[in-house]
Symmetry: C2
Subunit: 211 residues, 2 copies
């Protein structure tokens, strides 16, 4: 009966992280080269040097591996939201969180560019991303409900504001992708939140054009 509480896993945790990384990288690379539908779990596992069975210990599906989502992975979006001050208005907090996510994404290197290109092109990956968004949305709704003192089951506000803001993030990313990533993603996010804050009225003035 060893003291599990103070256990510091060194090599064990590191190897797990390496395997996770190797699988995600292999999945992304193969999907980019061959197209997601022509990639098998077996091929990903081979490329990462593990057995197919082990693949499913890390990812619950091929799609999740490609877009880099581990089950029960704590999302940075939620973490950022938890870090905002409690008395901040929900929409402001969410705007800051989404903006931070966008900056992180833009700074994140080529992997995210490739991922989003694939998501944009292949329906099955968009579905996987939707599922992930839904899970994040659920948890962020809980947090907004806590902040506002509302019951997330009875009151519509928490779920609504989270749905709208995550929708804004998704739409901004997709539009940015469609524009072939010309211009700053942050600008799109800002525009989107301005439109949301103004009651979704059709903007009179045409917003930033990148084309």
């Amino acid at each position: 009966m060893s003291p599990t509480e103070t256990m510091r896993e060194g090599l064990r945790e590191r190897k797990k992280a390496e395997t996770h990384q190797a699988l995600a990288a292999a999945a992304l690379r193969l999907a980019d080269e061959l197209g997601p539908e022509r990639v098998t779990v077996e091929a990903i596992a081979d490329a990462a040097g593990v057995s197919p069975r082990t693949f499913f210990n890390y990812f619950s599906s091929k799609e999740d591996a490609i877009i880099g989502i581990a089950p029960a992975q704590s999302s940075a979006l939620l973490a950022d939201l938890l870090a905002r001050p409690d008395d901040e208005p929900p929409l402001d907090a969410l705007r800051a969180v989404v903006l931070a996510a966008a900056e992180r994404l833009q700074a994140g290197g080529d992997d995210w560019v490739v991922r989003h290109r694939l998501i944009h092109k292949h329906h099955t990956l968009a579905v996987a991303r939707s599922a992930w968004f839904a899970e994040v949305e659920r948890r962020m709704t809980e947090e907004v409900a806590r902040r506002t003192g509302l019951d997330p089951g009875a009151d519509i506000y928490p779920a609504l504001v989270v749905s709208a803001t995550l929708g804004a993030l998704r739409v901004a990313i997709d539009t940015w992708q469609e524009r072939e990533r010309v211009g700053a993603l942050e600008t799109l996010i800002d525009d989107a939140f301005d439109v949301l804050a103004h009651g979704l009225r059709l903007p009179q003035r045409v917003t930033t054009q990148a084309v």
Copy 2:
């Protein structure tokens, strides 16, 4: 038999519709009785009196059959949007469309109650619904872009307003479900659109409480 009435649509079309209906009904009933994960395509096909292979001629997955979604099915949401006057502000048109959908849903009988209970409870069905929403969202975005004369690839507004409004519909349905369908779904929709129109600011006064 008198051919005038029955032959107008044709026996072929009628039998197809019957098979479609039988499969959807069997899928829903079995999923309700056993839980979605314990239902197989084979069981659904058996209950509907067709072969498993034929099932896939009608639905692309077990989940789609349970929530009643046929591939390339034209959604009533899109049809309603197309029927709105062209010069109506997008948010107003979408509000009307979503309200109509809610009314239809409430009047629709027990099947939708069961469906939403299952969707609410089982993650895989929520994912399938998300995928369907995404497809509808894409097509409605096209239409809003046409109305506003904006480029759906370059401008964020069409996708944003559609995303927010369909999100509102989804959130309202889920909340209604959580409240065990006490009260009118239309009221929730109205509240949601009011919040959207007021820039997603936290309402000072608590809205309709059903509990």
